[in-house]
Each structure stands twice: as structure tokens, then as C-alpha cells.
């Protein structure tokens, strides 16, 4: 019950602080803007003739991946920025002290905050994604092959960031937690690109670095799984290698299982770290 109370508190706070309102307004703004773009793609004349439907679908699928990438950055950084203050700032300001003297377990506070943030970011990811897909469908007639699976993996990106930031936040200051999580995220993304380049150049060491990076911070694995499920089969068939915006093969199931297990272990570590610290 305490976990539910803390999760509700976290969601309530985001609602009262107008985070949800701002997120909704920005989502509508992005949807309208990209809607104009996709509409232009589908209706503009090229050399005196409109693009064929097959060409429109192909281009739309690739552009949609770029839009999804923008959203994945928002979810990842949003996860880090939302999670960084949730424990560290509450400890620094003394907000948590009277709560910690109640007959509750410290673990319940961490799990409640994790649950609240994960629910908020997942709901946000699904709402944004479905609005964007609907806009694209209206503008071009394209609908991605596995939208819900793709959005589920995008939630994974956000949840990975929430988990690792909560772990940092259980001991470090708010700023240190946020910066450490964002640096890790950026590093994992760059190493992922380097691994793609290494794959094209048949450099096994660079490919291995990418795999190790995904094991250490599996946000990139979730992102690539999301991209794969957004791509139509024809696009996948035409790919000769992977990049962050065009994935020829999804991460193996073992990597996804690892990523889910990673979240469980990191949240567990955050619980342990918070439960054993002094105030």
C-alpha cells in the first residue's frame, strides 16, 4: 500500500507542477508540426508528378524513425531529469526525513517513486507515439507494422534511464545524478554508432564494444528494438547494415532479457543503497 501511496504522490506532484500539461501541449505542438511535414511529403509534386505511394511509405517510415528518435531522447532525458531530484533533492531539502520516521520501509519509497515515474513516462510515451502515428496515418496513409511493441521498447529506454538515475540519486546530489545518467546515456549511444561503423568495416573489436555498452546500459538495445518494430518489412529487406536510424536485425532475445533483468537489478541496488544510507 505504501508503494502505491508514494507512486500516487509522484504522479500527483507531476500533475500539480503542470509537467503533464506542458508535456501534453508540446506533444500536440510536435504532432501538428510533423503532420504538416508528412502531409507535404505525400502531396507535393516532384518533377511534375506526385511521389508513388510505395515511395511515400518508404520515406515516411524512415522519417518516422527520426521523429521516434527525437521522442526517445525526450523520454530518456525526461527519465533522467524526473528521477534525479526525486530522492536526492528530497533528501537535501529534508522533505524525506519526516516520511522516513513513519512505520514504512525505505525500499517502499524507492519502489513507489520508480513505479510513479515509470508509469508517467510509459503513459507519456504511448500517448505521444499514438498521437504521432495517427497524424502520420492521416497525412500519408502509413501505419507502422508493430506500433505497440515499438512503443513498449521506447518505454524501456525511459525506464532504463529512470532506474540508473534513481540509483545515483539514492546517494549523490541531484545535479551529479542527472549529469552522470545523461553522460552514460550519451556514451552508450555513441558507442552504439561506433559499433555500427565497426560492423560495416568488419572490425570485431568495435562491434564487441557496442555489445558491452548495451550490457552496461541497455537503453540503446531498447531503442534498436523499437526502431526495428517501426520499420516495414520492405525497408528491412533493403538494408545492408544497421545504424541508429535503420536497424537490419533486432537485438537478440537474450539481450532484451538481459535489459529487463538489468532494470530489476539496478532498481534493487537503488533500494539497497537507499535503505543502508545515513541521513
Amino acid at each position: 500500500m505504501t508503494i502505491a501511496a508514494i507512486a500516487t504522490l509522484t504522479l500527483h506532484e507531476m500533475l500539480r507542477r503542470r509537467l503533464i500539461l506542458v508535456a501534453a501541449i508540446l506533444t500536440v505542438f510536435v504532432a501538428i508540426l510533423t503532420g504538416f511535414g508528412f502531409h507535404a511529403l505525400a502531396t507535393q509534386m516532384y518533377h511534375g508528378a506526385p511521389l508513388s505511394q510505395v515511395r511515400v511509405i518508404g520515406l515516411t517510415a524512415q522519417l518516422l524513425t527520426l521523429v521516434a528518435y527525437m521522442f526517445s531522447l525526450v523520454f530518456a532525458l525526461g527519465g533522467a531529469f524526473a528521477a534525479a531530484p526525486t530522492i536526492a533533492s528530497d533528501v537535501d531539502t529534508g522533505l524525506l526525513l519526516p516520511m522516513l520516521t513513519r512505520p514504512i520501509r525505505r525500499v517502499e519509497i524507492v519502489l513507489g517513486k520508480f513505479l510513479g515515474l515509470a508509469l508517467f513516462l510509459s503513459a507519456y510515451a504511448f500517448a505521444c507515439g499514438l498521437v504521432e502515428f495517427a497524424v502520420v496515418r492521416i497525412a500519408t496513409g502509413y501505419w507502422p507494422p508493430h506500433p505497440f511493441v515499438a512503443l513498449g521498447y521506447l518505454c524501456g529506454v525511459a525506464i532504463v534511464m529512470v532506474s540508473v538515475t534513481l540509483l545515483f540519486s539514492s546517494r549523490l546530489s541531484m545535479i551529479a545524478s542527472g549529469i552522470a545518467a545523461v553522460v552514460l546515456f550519451g556514451l552508450a549511444w555513441i558507442v552504439g554508432i561506433a559499433a555500427d561503423i565497426g560492423g560495416g568495416a568488419h572490425n570485431q573489436a568495435m562491434v564487441d564494444a557496442g555489445t558491452i555498452s548495451q550490457l552496461v546500459l541497455p537503453s540503446d538495445a531498447f531503442w534498436r528494438a523499437a526502431v526495428y518494430h517501426l520499420e516495414p518489412a520492405a525497408l528491412v529487406a533493403s538494408l545492408h547494415g544497421s545504424s541508429p536510424f535503420a536497424v537490419a536485425a533486432p537485438p537478440p532475445p537474450a539481450m532484451i532479457a538481459w535489459a529487463i533483468g538489468w532494470i530489476v537489478v539496478v532498481v534493487g541496488c537503488a533500494c539497497w543503497s537507499f535503505a543502508t544510507r545515513d541521513f
Binding site: 500539480r16 529534508g94 522533505l95 526525513l97 519526516p98 513513519r102 512505520p103 520501509r105
Partner: protein
Amino acid sequence: MPPASADLAIDVAHLAKSYRDLVAVADLSLAIARGETFGFLGKNGAGKTTSVKMLLGLTKPTSGTGTLLGKPLGDRGARAKVGYLPELFRYHDWMTAREELAFHAGLAGVAHADRPRMIAEILDMVGLTRRANDPIGTYSKGMQQRVGIGVAVLGKPDLVFLDEPTSALDPVGRRDVREMVRALKERGVAVFLNSHLLSEVEQMCDRVAIVDRGRIVASGKLADVIGGAVGVRLRLGDPSESALQILRGYGAVSITGEWHVVTGADREAVPALIRELAAAGAAIYAIEPLKATLEERFMEVMTA
């Protein structure tokens, strides 16, 4: 015979806390009875807040053991009956006072049915009924401290820790806190009071301990810690040399305004002093024993 551990609100022996080379609390042993109001005094950095945090299970002692309400330090069951107002208090600024109290009532395990009445009573007690539905972020510092006091006494606690409970309050608020502490005492609630305002401790507490560099350097009943009378002061009508001679026989005589102060004369000497002065024909308009204040005793201990 000392009371059994279960009859004590706090019973700890040789608690210590070190952070690498820094000793925050060197040796803390306390036994505080249920229903007792206990003042914990010391300079900044003396180890008061660390001591409170160890008692509340917020900080793990490096060594030592103890019980809170008969249960080991940090026990969740004991925490159900403990309230705490931190020195640096902060509450959810986007919540109203009513919501904050309802949230803590949930954490404290107060039954749903009891919450509205309990919260209304507490809002009334801390004087926030009129502003109960405004966000805490719009409150003055003093009003936020009142919220904190309300949170601390929520859920019918048996033991309440108040760390500088009047630091942000005006004189009316301070009087309210004194009355609230008295009301808690009447209900049998033990109050552990950290305060720099020694005059308030003097008015509220049954017993005090003075802590310095992580150790208790003086403790006991308030009267014992302060000590007995330090002198007598008299208002006399134009005393003769013989009357002054009598005064000098009881101690060192000095004049403060219209008072003759006899330092060293104790309360027991007053009747004899009056008899001698009257026999010498001195006109006595007033006489009263002088006692040291807690502040004077505190300064004495700190500079020893």
C-alpha cells in the same frame, strides 16, 4: 528501582557515531520515561541532531544499543508511535496542509475513517484551519513550521521529537507550542525537545541534558541542573551601617538599582536574615531568593 525498558520512551546506552575521523557523537546514554518532557541542549555541532537521527533510526550508530518505546532502535513498530519535527523542516509545497496531513496519516497507518476528524483537530490545534486548503508553498515560514508540528503529533504518538520547534515562530506561535507540549505531557506523551531557546526549555522540560562534543556533560532534573539559590536580593528603606553589616555577614553585598544583592546567601537563610534586619530597625520592602537561569548554567558548563 529504575523503570523497566518497556516503561521508558527512550533507553539507550553508549551510542556513538563517527564519520571517518570525525566523531559526531562520542557517548550517549539516556533513559527518558514515558510522559516526560526532556530538553536536549548543546552548542551548534555538539551532536544533538545526529543523536536524534540515531534515536529515530535515520542514522546507524557506529556502536551502542538501545530501545525506543521498548523496541530496538529503527524498529518499524515503534515508529508507528513516534512523531518528528526536523530542524530543517520542508513539506510538499504543492500540497495543501490538509493533503500533507492526510498523506502522513496514510503513512502512519491511521484508519481511513479516523482521518478527517483527526486532521481537523490537528489543523485547529496548530492554528491552520483557515488556510488548510491553500498550498503550503504560499505559507510563511512560521506557518510551514506549524504544518510540521501538526505532522509530528499526527497519529496519537507516544513519543515526539521536536528539533527547534519554535525557530520560525512569532511570540504567539511560541506560546502555542508551549501549550501544545503541556497538552502532550498531560496525555502521557514523551517529548524530546532540542532547542537553543533555553528559556523555553526551562518553561517546558522536566529534565535536561547538556551535550558538548558528542558527550553529555550535565544532566538531571531541571532544578538539579540549574542548582540552588545563588543569593538573595532585598529592597530596603535607607539601610543603616549596622543593617549593611548584617547583610555582609551572609555574603558579598552589591547594589543593583534599588536592590541590595547578597551573593552567597541561600533560601534557608532568609528567615534569620529578616529577623536580624528587623531587630536592627531596617525597613524591609521586599526580599526574594535569586536562582541561576538555565542559560547561566549552560554558559557555565560550556565554558568550563
